[in-house]
Symmetry: C2
Subunit: 207 residues, 2 copies
DNA sequence: ACATAATGCGAGCTATAGCTCATATTGTCT
DNA sequence: AGACAATATGAGCTATAGCTCGCATTATGT
């Protein structure tokens, strides 16, 4: 296996000024990745676009990969928060309502910044953040599983861990693929149909 | 958008000897990608491992990306053939039998060489082969849709194009994710359960 | 105000990746 | 056998990416 470069930030910035620098670097990295692709995202270019010197860049991030990883992590934090909120929101709703809402939220989340989402998905293997993604998914599985446990009376007999895997993976794939490769399915009228179908898929499976 | 390097082969090799050269190059690229990762796959290294001079490499492939694209394409051809065969095989089977068989085949296909499969999945964005993947999926959708048309009497009223999208995307995601990230679900005993669940998901949705 | 720490700077070094081209070898055809 | 095309070779050029380091500037605390 290839040895990966370090991807953790170097210092923890304490002053206001330096936090701004760090933010600018991550933001610039994201913008360049989206607009110009990974290859154009050289450290010099990132520093330039961030309005920061190359020296400062290396004070906070030990490598280009670390910056990309920061972008990936930031995006994942945002997504996880959306998922947590959504699952808290639907905790008491009956199965079908809950699933429908979750599917809708998933589509909305993917639509916030599809280009960044695509880039993040593409860059994950490079960042050595695959394990993090594993953890990320684990949390989602666990949260959804908790919902299922609470609503066990609405379900058929089924291993809840496995069911959570099946449902979450399917919903994620459908929304992800639709947003990134099938914008035709997502016209304002068509979205509702997709939501209906995904809901039916999951609900039909669970009971 | 970033301009991508050319990814098409340069000349078409006619003699026996040169075809061997080309094969060795693609094979070496695949091996290096799997064992050492994209960064270590320099053109010099590929040529060396293929037992071919760097000059010869550039006679057939204009860039490193072209070689990676060749690996991706080759893998996709193989997968598509498996899918075509499987769908031909189940064409006359009733819904549940057909789906169960397809899910099984999908898992088997992913298991042939999981590490290569993972690498290919990771490298697709870099190769500019996303459109090809689109086409690849289009064909799969079309083939499965044809099956659905033939068995319409077993299905509820549903847009077959959309249904094909939902089913194929779900099956692909479940098998892909299970093989790459959840080997626990794929122990010899557990596979059957996964097959059952995936089958139930899809069949329940379709009727 | 001064000392000390935190942050910022950017010219320039090192390494290596991608690639070319002049030349040599091997195959094909008559 | 000779001529022409196809294929193979690898030393070495060019460009640029990643990164360091010595020094300048700005903040903090007393």
């Amino acid at each position: 296996m290839a040895r990966r470069p370090l991807t953790n930030p170097r210092k923890h910035a304490t002053q206001e000024r330096s936090r701004a620098t760090v933010d600018a670097l991550v933001e610039a990295t994201a913008r360049i990745l989206v607009k110009e692709g990974f290859d154009k995202a050289s450290t010099n270019r990132i520093a330039q676009k961030a309005g920061v010197s190359i020296g400062s860049l290396y004070q906070y991030y030990p490598s280009k990969e670390a910056l990309v990883a920061a972008v990936v992590d930031r995006h994942h934090q945002e997504l996880m928060q959306i998922i947590r909120d959504a699952l808290a929101e639907v905790a008491a709703l009956p199965l079908e309502d809950a699933v429908r809402r979750l599917v809708t939220v998933a589509i909305e989340a993917h639509r916030i910044d599809p280009r960044l989402h695509r880039v993040v998905a593409e860059q994950i293997p490079r960042t050595g953040r695959l394990e993090n993604v594993g953890a990320f998914n684990q949390e989602t599985f666990a949260l959804f599983r908790a919902y299922l446990e609470r609503h066990r009376d609405e379900l058929r007999a089924v291993d809840l861990g496995l069911a959570a895997f099946v449902c979450v993976t399917s919903i994620e794939a459908l929304t992800h693929t639709a947003v990134l490769h099938r914008s035709d399915i997502l016209s304002d009228e068509a979205v509702d149909t997709l939501v209906d179908e995904a809901t039916r898929l999951v609900v039909g499976y669970l009971r």
